[in-house]
Amino acid sequence: MSVIEARGLRKKYGTTVALDGIDLNIEAGRILGLIGPNGAGKSTALNSILGLIPYEGQLSVLGRDPWGSRDELMREVSFIADVAVLPRWLRVSQALEYVAGVHPRFDRAKAESLLARTSIRRGSRVRELSKGMVTQLHLALIMAIDARLLVLDEPTLGLDILYRKQFYDALLTDYFDHSRTIVVTTHQVEEIQNVLTDFMFINDGRIVLSCSMEEFETRYAEVTVHQEQLAAARELAPIDERQVFGRSTLLFDRADRGQLEQFGAVRTPSIADLFVAIVGKAQAARQAGRARA
């Protein structure tokens, strides 16, 4: 069964189109990265999936209409939308009591043991914790919920690299198993590249590319080419070319690896570079078009 299924998902804010007819189908057991520039529609898509905003088109999350039944959906879906949304007056002990009080799938003992690994004290209020500790607390609460879908919208924004690393490590080792599904958006694409099983590029409210990591690794290749071989390499139709220290790195889509290897070592590109190649170009073209008009 699909965890998330959308057909023609649209959302307009006034005259601004935030989601322009998205079709998607996310199976259980995937870790999907939703990648796009600011204002591309990532958060709108996630908010629709979480039942936080109304939308047009068809959307089904775990077989339910999220807008019609957010509270029921939240028994099986968890989310961290943005860092630091825990109320500042809340005590750690109150957070544990409250979630245990309202959530049928919350395992308090698990939350306690996750918290025991941190330096967070039960009597502290959220306002007394550092930003990194607030995230640890939130993550401990969320990971103790036996949810089928976890949505993370910029969960590590503004955290230092140690906390960011810890965050994804904890998620992978203590939370993720192959019956759960995780959808994550972040600007730090490089950091989650090896966490993801799938990714999607969103731009202007549309899905530009949807790709599994296996497909990504076989389909895209990158090679750094010497100046004298550049013309020959360009013959193979790279989708992007960038200059690093006077040498050109070319990015290919579905090129023959054997042919590429004559120019140098063939690597799998980073998702970030692919993103710049696909979405960055489209944006630049659009901006140029706008400037001309």
Binding site: M1, I26, M74, L86, V99, P104, R148, M200, L209
Partner: protein, 321 residues
């Protein structure tokens, strides 16, 4: 660029996927009972707003301090003014500080209720915590009802308990001070009809403050769920505007009088005694039936329900501000 469906997962859409760990018809986990969700929702309000009982406690403490100072300075023997002869007038005189305590604490309660309502659905959007609350399986209806129950149920009961506690503290402290000064307190306190006073108080709180004022609370909750800032202005300006426009266009003040009569408590109110009047009477069945059969009560409750429905509608759509 593609507008075709994006499938994430090993199988394309529509293919059989019965082998998954979670079957296609995995049972939805049972919800917590409504009573349990209500309990924790109200508990959350008490955690978040400790001031709604701390402030009245401080007011009561300050009042007690003033009372002790006053009692310590009464001349002994207790002077009975010459013009007062009838016993009920004497009891009226003795009762005055107790009535005053009730009025001060009820006024405190009204102010607390107003401040609470205007912040209730605003604060969680302001500090973005609405995103945390909405990530839990508690409906918007439950949240709004829990918040509405604070001014309508919780605060009247807190006010009542606090007033009784203050009265008892006044009795104890007064007895200690007066006995210490050689006065016979039993005959003094014996003059005061505490039970009927407390009965009248409870009736007044439940009928007027809890039920008759509900449209005010509902309106303020609605505004708190809608205003981005300055909820107090958004709550009061439209009311002022209606009054002014009505005056200018029709040269009448029906709306203003309606609000005033509701503030006065309608048929549910038991008039507080003015100086020299009869002491406040315990409510009778006649009071109760007049209150329950007044259209004003039911119209008010209907308006309250409509405002709450609006607040739920807003809570469902609103995010952080």
């Amino acid at each position: 660029m593609t507008s075709t469906e994006s499938t994430v997962g090993p199988e394309p859409a529509g293919s059989p996927s019965g082998s998954r760990a979670e079957g296609p018809v995995a049972a939805s986990p049972a919800a917590m009972s409504a009573a349990r969700l209500a309990y924790w929702s109200v508990q959350r309000e008490l955690w978040e707003n400790r001031w709604i009982y701390l402030v009245p406690l401080i007011v009561a403490a300050v009042f007690l301090l003033g009372f002790v100072t006053g009692v310590a300075r009464i001349p002994i023997p207790f002077p009975i003014p010459h013009k007062i002869t009838a016993s009920h007038s004497l009891s009226r005189l003795l009762e005055a500080p107790f009535d005053f305590a009730s009025m001060v604490l009820m006024l405190t309660y009204v102010i607390v209720a107003v401040i609470y309502c205007l912040a209730a659905l605003h604060a969680e959007r302001w500090d973005r915590s609405i995103l945390f609350w909405k990530s839990l399986p508690v409906s918007d209806l439950m949240t709004v009802l829990a918040k509405a129950s604070v001014p309508v149920v919780l605060l009247p009961l807190i006010a009542f308990a606090l007033i009784i506690a203050t009265h008892i503290a006044m009795l104890l402290v007064g007895t200690a001070v007066l006995t210490g000064r050689g006065a016979h307190v039993t005959e003094i306190w014996g003059q005061i009809p505490f039970l009927s006073m407390w009965g009248a108080l409870l009736y007044h709180l439940l009928s007027v403050h809890a039920l008759y004022y509900t449209p005010f609370y509902g309106w303020m909750l609605l505004v708190s769920g809608w205003a981005r800032r300055a909820a107090f202005l958004w709550a009061s300006l439209p009311i002022a505007a209606v009054i002014i426009v009505e005056k200018l266009v029709f040269d009448t003040s029906v709306f203003g009088h309606m609000l005033l009569s509701r503030l006065a408590g309608g048929p549910g109110a038991i008039a507080f005694p003015r100086h020299g009047d009869m002491p406040m009477q315990a409510p009778t069945l006649a009071n109760l039936s007049a209150f329950l059969s007044s259209p004003g009560l039911w119209i008010g409750l209907a308006v309250f329900a409509a405002f709450l429905a609006g607040a739920v509608w807003l809570r469902r759509r609103q995010g952080p501000i």
